[in-house]
Subunit: 162 residues, 4 copies
């Protein structure tokens, strides 16, 4: 089974700019994370965008759906900012990708900052995508949720069933 990984940015891939003291995006850390995890899955990594998901608009969201639709692989993991990950999951579900298993995941702390949940979430998302039936899911906190059964609790930063 080949898995497509679509990168959209989010906290996952933020870095610290030591000249300005601000967070920014450069290249994705996914290849480095897969190396660290000694991942032996057959994956194709594709950067769709590098964006804070609070800045993601409808056109960008449609671009993600489009890339998922055009993917030859039926197992797709999408890294995404957690703030609007549920909106993008909804757009994917509306996109009529009935035969694909799509798992969106994110991170609360940038991978580059050492204390990140990103590696845990990536291992989790890549595992769920191999065994869940077709559908759109969000994988966070070791759990998986159907796209229409989850929301981010902004007070705790955790994802909860709704």
């Amino acid at each position: 089974m080949k898995i497509r990984i679509l990168i959209t940015g989010g906290t996952f891939d933020k870095e610290y700019d030591e000249l300005t003291g601000r967070l920014f995006f450069r290249d994705t850390h996914l290849p480095e994370m897969l190396r660290l995890g000694r991942c032996r899955l057959d994956v194709a990594i594709e950067t769709v965008m590098m964006i804070d998901s609070l800045e993601l608009e409808d056109s960008g969201r449609m671009a993600i759906v489009e890339r998922a639709r055009e993917s030859a692989e039926t197992a797709i993991v999408i890294t995404h900012g957690t703030d609007t990950i549920v909106e993008t999951a909804r757009a994917l579900a509306a996109g009529a990708l009935r035969d694909k298993t799509i798992v969106l995941t994110g991170a609360m702390v940038p991978y580059a900052f050492g204390s990140s949940d990103g590696l845990f979430n990536l291992g989790s998302a890549l595992s769920f995508v191999q065994v869940l039936p077709p559908g759109v899911y969000v994988a966070m906190n070791g759990q998986h949720f159907p796209w229409n059964g989850v929301d981010k609790n902004r007070a705790t930063g955790s994802f909860e069933p709704v």
Copy 2:
């Protein structure tokens, strides 16, 4: 769903003794790893032993099977040294635990050493255990294998189907 995590030691939990320059075991790092992963699963952690799996003998292996059998939970993750993880998987399969999903996982580099695959593997094992049908599996390198379909390639450190 509640998940039982059985700790048996292995590279996962090795630490560096700065007075002797040797690797040793102290407490498990699992609780810290679950915190880092912002894991919100309902888990019960139980340390069965803290041992290098090369030193694991039949009696120790039987103790692990016994703890899995007595576990009230039907989803069980076992952290284990990679060198004999397949032998323990075989013992578990022989233990007639037909109604349980048991996923063994390990690490190639100690979690405490920063560049570990442990967090990735833990996220992976905890995800597989929630969705795989009853059986005994090894989860490494982002993949999962049935207990009788895997072996460690000692030249590369990777797990491969057999």
Copy 3:
């Protein structure tokens, strides 16, 4: 010799707030850094403020000078944001603390982010303060500069003689 460490904040002590995605200050990381460095010096740590040095005004700068003046120790290390570290060094020099060796240092990347220069700079500043004659110095990049002979190159993030 006892050394006083005055904490004023700066990049050194910034952390990532995973709920807001912003950088903020909580407690200083100095005690943890000294533990990591296995530091056996006799130090007294005092938090004067926790502030981004771009927000440091004259009154705050005077508070730092005052704390240095009142310090019983003649060896003083000050952790400080790099953006205005030279201004504070100048204020300390004008403060007529003629009998004291004062070394200011900072970091380009927060200690909490893993890839920080903070531990290197701290080891450097604590060493310089033990052997330099009385005066006010800035220690960055492994180097030490007199207060009136240094400036931050904002294009490179390095400190250079002027």
Copy 4:
């Protein structure tokens, strides 16, 4: 001022071999550590050997003295295993290198293991070597000791005056 850094191995540079589970030496981490510390000193790095200092014999020790003697630079930092760092300091002092400032330093935990004191000690040694008068010193734990006034306390792992 140009500083020569002589690498001899020691815990500083040990790595974890994930195939054998043993510690070993590959290349030195010094260039990476200097990058992390944003070091702007003019340094020349030279690997004399990569060895556990418990295995260092007289001939090896003489090779270190020889390299220090032949160094054109009068400021020399030597990274060294802590177990016999004092013996090598003594050999250097006996080597009649009267015009040079030589600072030996080491680490209790390998740099590659994340929780190392190595970066702190390196910042410290590079600072002491710039300002101490000619002589042979050991820099550990934020402190510096003359070669004939220090010993490692093997029970605590700290260096103490004798």
